[in-house]
């Protein structure tokens, strides 16, 4: 037990020292942590609750960044067309984006592992059918899948997450299946199968740990993709309504004013989105480099 603990810690510290080789990735990781903190502490950090219509005053509409509004405090990032404090809106929006991205990522990961492992472990016709469906889904762009699904399910956080999961699980399923098929051929799985261990034990104790590294990489990228996808759907008007601000719906709202000089309505939520997504991808990229130096894509 103690031995297992030290090797695990050793592996982690080794992983970290490899990861820290890229200074960009370390900065990106720090940015993500700060953004996560700000997003989930938004109720205390933000000067205003942008959901609460009682806080909004029409007289505060379109205040440029740095103006003091009727609330008596400085609107650092200005206000939008209904007098909502942009900083607060961005922080709350960031929280929505993170919640959607993380839960969609986690659920898609779970669903993908389930499908991929089932296919790889049982093989035969089940494998053929499952992976055929997965391949078909992969050949369609996720945005199209999500668009149709949201149209089908209606808008709302739950519906969007479900649409994202259906659109994205295939990436995890393909990765799990690919890695598991390679592992399956190895002797230790054969050995584990020939003992009277129950199937789920072979799957979870033996197969899963070995397919984890590529899945971690896919997961980071897919969380970023989910956040971007949700923002895109909201921007297209089929995602979240402005009463429940996500970064996408905020940008969509600001888009109406980009021909005026009121660009702060779209610029700030846009940059928040961009920084978040890029930071996650940079971290994912470095994780990939560390876990699998041969694979450059």
């Amino acid at each position: 037990m103690a031995v297992a603990e030290t090797t695990r810690r050793q592996r982690l510290s080794e992983f970290w020292s490899d990861f820290a080789q890229s200074r960009v990735a370390v900065v990106a990781l720090a940015v993500i942590l700060v953004l996560l903190f700000l997003a989930f502490a938004c109720e205390w950090v933000a000067p205003q609750d942008p959901y609460d219509l009682r806080n909004l005053d029409w007289l505060d509409a379109f205040l440029p960044p740095g103006t003091v509004g009727s609330g008596g405090y400085v609107h650092v990032l200005g206000t939008d067309n209904v007098g909502r404090d942009m900083l607060s809106a961005v922080l709350y929006g960031l929280r929505t984006s993170f919640i959607i991205g993380l839960s969609a990522g986690a659920l898609a990961l779970t669903a993908g592992i389930a499908v991929g492992l089932t296919a790889a472990y049982f093989g035969g016709r089940l494998e053929a059918v499952l992976m055929r469906v997965v391949d078909l889904q992969l050949s369609m762009p996720a945005i199209l899948m999500a668009l149709v699904l949201v149209a089908l399910l209606g808008s709302g956080v739950g519906q969007i997450v479900l649409a994202l999961v259906v659109a994205q699980y295939a990436y995890f399923a393909r990765t799990t299946h690919g890695a598991a098929t390679v592992e399956r051929r190895k002797d230790y799985i054969e050995a584990a199968r020939s003992t009277p261990l129950p199937t789920y034990r072979v799957l979870f104790r033996h197969l899963l740990p070995n397919v984890m590294p590529p899945l971690i990489v896919v997961a980071t990228v897919q969380v970023a993709a989910a956040i971007a996808l949700e923002a895109t759907l909201s921007f297209l008007g089929v995602g979240l309504p402005l009463t429940e601000p996500s970064l996408g719906s905020l940008i969509s709202n600001g888009f109406r004013y980009i021909h005026t000089d009121r660009t702060w309505l779209s610029l700030y939520p846009g940059f928040a989105l961009m920084i978040t997504v890029v930071a996650i991808n940079l971290v994912g990229d470095q994780v990939r480099t560390v876990l699998d130096p041969r694979q450059g894509l």
């Binding site: 369609m140 762009p141 668009l147 149209a151 971007a228 921007f235 297209l236 846009g270 890029v278 990229d285």
Partner: protein, 324 residues
Amino acid sequence: MIAFILQRLMQSVLVVFAMSVIVFVGVYAIGNPIDVLIDPGATQSIRDALIERYGLDQPLWRQYFTFVTNVAQGDLGRSMVYNVPVTSLIFSRLPATLELVFVAMFLATALGVPLGIWAGYKPDSFSSKAIMALSILGFSVPTFWIGMLLIMGFAVNLGWLPSGGRGLVAEFLGFRTSLTSAEGWSHVLLPAINLSLFKMGLMIRLTRAGMVEAMRADYVKFARAQGLSEREVVFGHVLRNISIPIVTVFGLELGSTLAFAVVTESVFNWPGVGKLIIDSILQLDRPVMVSYLVMVVILFVLINLVVDIVYARLDPRVRLKGEE
């Protein structure tokens, strides 16, 4: 080779059939278009008349059967919103989208592949790392946001290019295109750049990965041992090998770019099929949705088929397997 194509063709037909059922059932599970189309205060008899006219009272399998028979005759139904045949609606919008996709894919390949070759040839150089960082930006930053930045920068602030819409359209070799005039190009440039960035990022990474892998191969070392120059090694030997995955992905991405144009067309108000599908989703225009999706599926299947054949042409190993 013929047996190979026939086998692929059979698979493709099966896939199209399966997908059309899924799409049909999926789309028809969405809400009731009658509620959207007509005034809630309309009388029951008007509602019934409309329901009958669109065949909405029939059982689902029957509606599907009608749909397939009509499609087989080239009839995709009428749009509930525009009240014109869906076929003519989609075909009137298709040239604009194709034109946009063509320019975007050209940009993505013409810039992405050379950049990827360089980044894979000298993976440790500063310029390569800069290229890779840019490629991460290219495919992680959401397209609509880059589109907005492009509009703010080049259209609103600098005023160099128009912020949206399509330029003058002229007939050229039987196609209606806006690419024959400078004014047309000024309109297509920003949306095409916008649409190409994601694909460019992908092309860069794909080419680079192939390059890095191939440069390690023994045949590269052997070619160098024969005294071939670096230029000959890269262009004569390596490029031939990595062209196979590049062509494959190019083909596959062509399809997804068509579908992805949805976003760019919305941002730049480009009158293409993508904008049409968004509008039809928002307005529950079922015939347009179903037709578009079925067309996209057919397109994807066709592209997959063509890619398979081209792949077989390029890679002698696959070709021979098909002939045996």
